[in-house]
């Protein structure tokens, strides 16, 4: 039972990180039809920005801020300007392929420039264990979960409660009408790229202390983000949250109760089942059919 509680908690912690990544993934899809195959690498890279800052002697909080800033510049602005903008009008597929090439580029660049070895990454959250009612609980898992949840809530608040947030939603839901109303659609799209970059940076700083920072760390994360986004419903932020948490829990439980060899298959079956039987996702609304 104790084991189960911790498994669940660890699952929720990973799931919350998946959710962050998946939300970014959906945002990009909604506002600019970008299927970002490099999303996993986007999570891997910010940790190395921060490590580089640490290596020149900055304190951790500052290094994390630098990492965040660099991510928003490189994975946000530059990604949009250099890759997405020129490719967008040519359809979804060439852009998707381009992000695949980008994922190779990021992975190999980190490997060559930094190291092929896994690096330890300091956590900015408390660690250790806590004993409540005779159950030992991992504080690390708990704090990751809570922190990630706070980020998600803050994002939701931003999107729902601020005028800019609502303009972004309007842009995602109907860019044509948004433009008619005078919403600066282009700037809103840039904001979504910045938010995505911030989300992956936060995810990076949360997950790297657990699994170490390594050039290849993005491979599984990217896949997890796709699956979370699709399982939850490709067009919905809420869906990405539910999908991420569900996937994290399923993933962790599968690791414990399914043979280790096939634990990776469980999320894939989940994905296939959802696509075939509920393609709009668990939280999604069916798209109206037009002929």
């Amino acid at each position: 039972m104790m084991n189960f509680t911790n498994l669940l908690l660890a699952g929720l912690a990973t799931g919350a990180i998946y959710a962050l990544v998946a939300i970014g993934f959906t945002l990009l899809w909604q506002t600019s039809q970008t299927i970002n195959f490099a999303q996993g690498e986007f999570v891997m890279v910010p940790a190395f920005f921060a490590l580089a800052a640490l290596n020149v002697g900055m304190p951790l909080p500052l290094a994390l801020l630098v990492g965040l800033g660099l991510s928003m510049l490189v994975l946000g602005v530059l990604f949009k300007r250099l890759l997405v903008d020129p490719m967008l009008r040519h359809g979804v597929l060439p852009l998707a392929i381009c992000t695949m090439a980008l994922s190779i580029f990021l992975k190999e660049t980190v490997k060559e420039v930094y190291s092929a070895e896994a690096s330890r990454f300091p956590s900015f959250l408390p660690g250790g264990n806590l004993s409540i009612f005779g159950t030992t609980i991992s504080i690390q898992s708990l704090s990751i979960f809570v922190f990630a949840l706070c980020v998600v809530v803050a994002l939701q608040m931003f999107l729902m409660r601020t005028s800019t947030g609502r303009q972004m939603q309007a842009t995602a839901q109907n860019p044509y009408v948004a433009k008619l109303l005078g919403v600066p659609v282009e700037r809103m799209i840039l904001y979504t790229f910045l938010i995505n970059a911030a989300l992956v940076a936060i995810a990076s700083f949360l997950i790297s202390p657990v699994y170490l920072a390594k050039f290849s760390a993005g491979e599984t994360l990217g896949l997890a983000a796709f699956i979370a986004a699709i399982v939850g419903g490709f067009n919905q932020i809420r869906g990405a949250i539910v999908g991420g948490l569900l996937l994290g829990v399923v993933d962790n439980l599968a690791a414990a109760y399914v043979s280790t060899q096939y634990r990776g298959a469980v999320p894939l079956f989940l994905l296939i089942a959802v696509i075939l039987f509920r393609p709009q996702g668990l939280m999604g609304r069916a798209e109206e059919r037009t002929v």
């Binding site: 299927i35 195959f37 890759l83 020129p86 490719m87 040519h90 359809g91 979804v92 597929l93 060439p94 998707a96 392929i97 381009c98 695949m100 090439a101 980008l102 190779i104 580029f105 190999e108 660049t109 490997k111 060559e112 896949l223 796709f226 699956i227 699709i230 490709f234 060899q261 096939y262 990776g264 298959a265 894939l268 079956f269 994905l271 296939i272 696509i275 075939l276 393609p279 002929v291």
Partner: protein, 329 residues
Amino acid sequence: MSRSLLLKGFGLLIVAGLIFIPLTLNRYGIYIMSLWAIMTIAAMGLNLTLGYAGQVSLAQGAFVGLGAYTVAIMMSAGFGFWLPLVLAIAITFVVGWLLGYPALRVQHHYLAFVTLAFSTLVFLVFRNEEWLTKGIYGIMGFKRPTAFGVSFQKPIEFYYFTLAALALASAFVAWLVRSPWGRAFLALRENPIRALSLGVDTRRYTLMAFAIGSAMGGFAGALYAPLVEFVDPTPFTLALSLNLLMMVIVGGSGFFFGPFLGAAIGVLLPEWLRFAHGWYLIIYALFVMILLIKTPTGILGIIENMIAARKTRAASAARAAASATLDKA
């Protein structure tokens, strides 16, 4: 007239190059050329599914793996080469057919993700079903085939064998895309609703597009196993599927010669960049990105666009002239 003659000459030159240049290469160079031929076959299959019939698949690498494992397992069991080859094609044909069913329900990115999941699942089976695949240790100890009394043991011999296979596969695809099926595939890609209204049974053609494309992947895999003489799961991760997709798009999806070019970029270019050591993949990825930004419809696509633009300009000039006379009348 002279232009088609020029094209023929150019084609002959390339074929001659493919035949004679490897004679000057070392063992590794010949291996790379053989790999190119094999990857071209696999990419041609994907080009059929994606480029001609418009069905996105991220699973072509898995079919190459299925083909390779079928041949490796059976050859290790002493079955020679030909029966395993036929079986590899048959198995990938059937599995490809089955993978086509999701395409009847979902399209575009959803279909991409289903095939992506399938690809990863197949990889897990390769890695985990040790009783059959020997898991991460891989299968070895099978020999390159002998055909018609000729042995294909030496690298250069096996290269010619793969080249012949490529010629066969090319002839098959050329014939197929010019057949009524090719027309139906194109109709399926361009406008499935209109195709249906013209009596095209889009379901069957979708399934066939997957089955045939996958079988070509299986064929490529069946050649890959004896080329490397060792089969383990590592080459058949999702990365291979993505690479094959990249080859098709970069070369020019829906163009007959697209896969040849795409595979040349995907297989040969990284090798030429070996001098850059660890940086070669970085340069390669950059190259692909820049290429796609410059030519989003692939290399052959851009050539066709140039020709089409010239024609449009001519047509528009003609129309302007015609409308001027209309106004006078």
